[in-house]
């Protein structure tokens, strides 16, 4: 309770309100720009936070995360190009609404649904974080090792079409974090005599390279999308009748998004699609979906904003990020000398509670900025992708250099941009690598501490109930997810075969 009061007091300061406003505004902008999104936005902003206070930094980036989840719907509705992966479900009904001249209504529904989802996610974070911290305090090194492996495996399994490729890039990430001083003995590894590597590979440069620079290379390959819809986008507020009609959909989406956000690796795009599909199944007019049904916009939008609060729960309570965006946020905590997890609630309760409560302020700012700044935003998203890509490269270079004033880091960033481009081209997903870079030191340190405690006995991972539980879950998911994908593929092939036969037989 004291923590919440401190959070309220901090939230009402000019500094925090400014952080929320800036973060939210930038978030809507980067979310609306096709190809950017929250992870790239945070990656580009992290270097800027180096000189700022920890509270200002994390609050601004969390607000950016919230704003970008809404911003993604702007280009999905107006350009038929999702600004963020989570807005793909919004596009299905949002763009047809825009083509029918209902862009204003679609954007209004998206904004209100995002606000409801954001509030539900924020509320879940406030209510669940403190009890979960009590559980997390019982975790020892084996449990932390197991939780880290679980988070990493889930992301590797779900991030791309191939589990093995996901695990390959996760291993690459783990290899990267073994560069530099060993976390237990201080022995220097893989530095090749370079003083720049003694503190390890520059994590932020790697993240910016993999996410922002490789994205820039992808952007130059795409052409600019065409702006569709009306241009008078003010007054996005819904009528009382519209609220009454859509509120159950928004609430359901909010709950789904929160639950999905808590799971590592699943992400907001799954939340959006899950909410969309469920709403369609429950609808009395499922045939209207895909043709401009307003509930088809409300359902995914409330879900993807609710994932923001949900995904912060494992990050703040266990120190486990479940997505690239939360991994970037975790990197920001590290940059300011803070370690997310139960200890953070004891060592820096002001930061934790201010961050949690700032989500509500972010929703309020998102609502106001989304209503009044949208005409400008709608114009800016028509910026050619080529211009955007070049600006990303230039911005990434300046941001990475500003962190340590080392040109070495800028070369690392460019190198990982090229590596990320080719890995993505050949079907290797990047999120497991980002997570491995962030979680790697924790996984290695707790693995070795566990073996030191048990004098080399691996049974310590099975005798610890929490560790055993998470390792068992990891094994189940790693085996179950490819099996489910295989079953789905076989079913799809059988259905195709059946359809072909029916067509050939003239049925």
């Amino acid at each position: 309770m004291d923590g919440l009061l401190i959070g309220v007091a901090n939230l009402l300061t000019i500094e925090t309100i400014l952080a929320v406003a800036i973060g939210c505004g930038i978030g809507i902008f980067v979310g609306a720009m096709p190809g950017l999104g929250s992870a790239v936005g945070i990656a580009l902003m992290v270097p800027l936070t180096y000189s700022l206070s920890p509270t200002f930094s994390v609050v601004m980036l969390a607000a950016l995360y919230m704003g970008s989840e809404y911003g993604g719907s702007v280009s999905a509705i107006l350009l038929n190009t999702p600004g963020t992966p989570s807005a793909t479900a919004t596009m299905v009904d949002g763009y047809p609404m825009s083509q029918k001249g209902q862009a204003r209504l679609a954007l209004g529904v998206s904004l209100s649904s995002s606000a409801v989802g954001g509030l539900i996610g924020g509320l879940a974070l406030v209510l669940l974080a403190q009890p979960l911290v009590g559980v997390a305090l019982r975790f020892g090194p084996p449990a932390y090792f197991a939780v880290g492996v679980f988070g990493l495996s889930m992301v590797a399994a779900l991030a791309g079409s191939s589990l093995v490729k996901g695990l390959v890039v996760a291993c690459l990430g783990l290899m990267l974090v073994t560069v530099g001083s060993d976390p237990i003995s201080g022995y220097t590894r893989f530095t090749f005599g370079s003083y720049e590597l003694i503190d390890g590979i520059p994590v932020v440069a790697v993240m910016i390279g993999l996410f922002a620079v490789s994205e820039a290379f992808f952007l130059v390959e795409k052409g600019a999308a065409k702006f569709v819809g009306d241009t008078s986008l003010r007054h996005l507020f819904l009528s009382r009748e519209q609220w009454r009609n859509l509120l159950p959909t928004m609430l359901r989406g909010g709950v789904i998004g929160t639950l999905i956000g808590i799971l590592p690796g699943v992400g907001s795009s799954v939340g959006g699609w899950f909410s969309y599909t469920l709403t369609q199944r429950l609808s009395s007019n499922p045939e209207d979906f895909g043709k401009g049904e307003v509930k088809g916009v409300a359902a995914p939008e409330s879900a993807n904003n609710a994932t923001v609060g949900g995904s912060l729960i494992p990050l703040l309570t266990l120190g486990i990020p479940g997505s690239p965006t939360t991994a970037m946020l975790m990197g920001t905590f590290f940059l300011h000398g803070l370690q997310p997890g139960p200890a953070l609630f004891q060592n820096a309760p002001d930061i934790v509670y201010t961050l949690m409560l700032s989500l509500f302020a972010a929703v309020a700012f998102m609502y106001v900025l989304g209503s009044f700044a949208l005409p400008l935003c709608a114009r800016v998203i028509a910026l050619p992708n080529h211009v955007l890509a070049i600006l990303i490269v230039a911005m990434a270079a300046v941001g990475v250099f500003a962190l340590r004033s080392l040109m070495f880091d800028v070369w690392v960033m460019l190198g990982f941009g090229v590596i990320g481009y080719f890995l993505r081209k050949f079907g290797f997903p990047l999120p497991p690598m980002i997570l491995a870079v962030v979680l790697g030191p924790m996984i290695e340190a707790n693995f070795r501490r566990s073996l030191l405690l048990s004098q080399g006995d691996y049974n310590i991972f099975f005798e610890d109930g929490i560790a055993f539980g998470f390792l068992a879950l990891t094994a189940v998911f790693v085996l179950a997810i490819p099996a489910l994908k295989l079953v789905r593929k076989v079913a799809f092939q059988q259905r195709n075969h059946h359809t072909k036969n029916s067509t050939r037989d003239g049925i």
């Binding site: 093995v164 390959v168 022995y187 390959e221 080529h386 600006l391 230039a394 500003a402 079907g427 080399g456």
Partner: protein, 150 residues
Amino acid sequence: MMRLGTYVIGGILLIVAALYVFGASNFGVTFNPRDVGPGYFPVGVGALLIVLVLIVLGQETFGRGSVSWVDLSSFIPLVLPLVALAILYILGIQYVGYFSSTAIFLIISLIFLYRIELKLALIVSLIFCTFVFVVFVLLLRTSFPTGYLF
């Protein structure tokens, strides 16, 4: 294209993983878990990577690869010039100076690579450099390399 690319990437990863395991084994690692040293974890990760890459190559060879075709046709005309310019840009930061090389990079890449009008390229370059100067130099007190120019 996909198969050849996966073989190239797989081959590179195998070499990297083998060198990594070899390097890690010099850190005083033993296979006895009672003697957990700085090389123990890296050797395990490297060995796991070798096994996983072999599985990926096996899947590709026997037709269970996850992606059937990769389009690299736009890499040489669109992406490679940007990578080359980015390399020159980073070299330029060191030798010519941050602001002059940034302005040159933006103008050249916008005009020559992507056929943006000179006026727009100059405006974009001016706005970006002003933004960096105000935010990074004036507010965040970052000092950039000045090189031969500025």
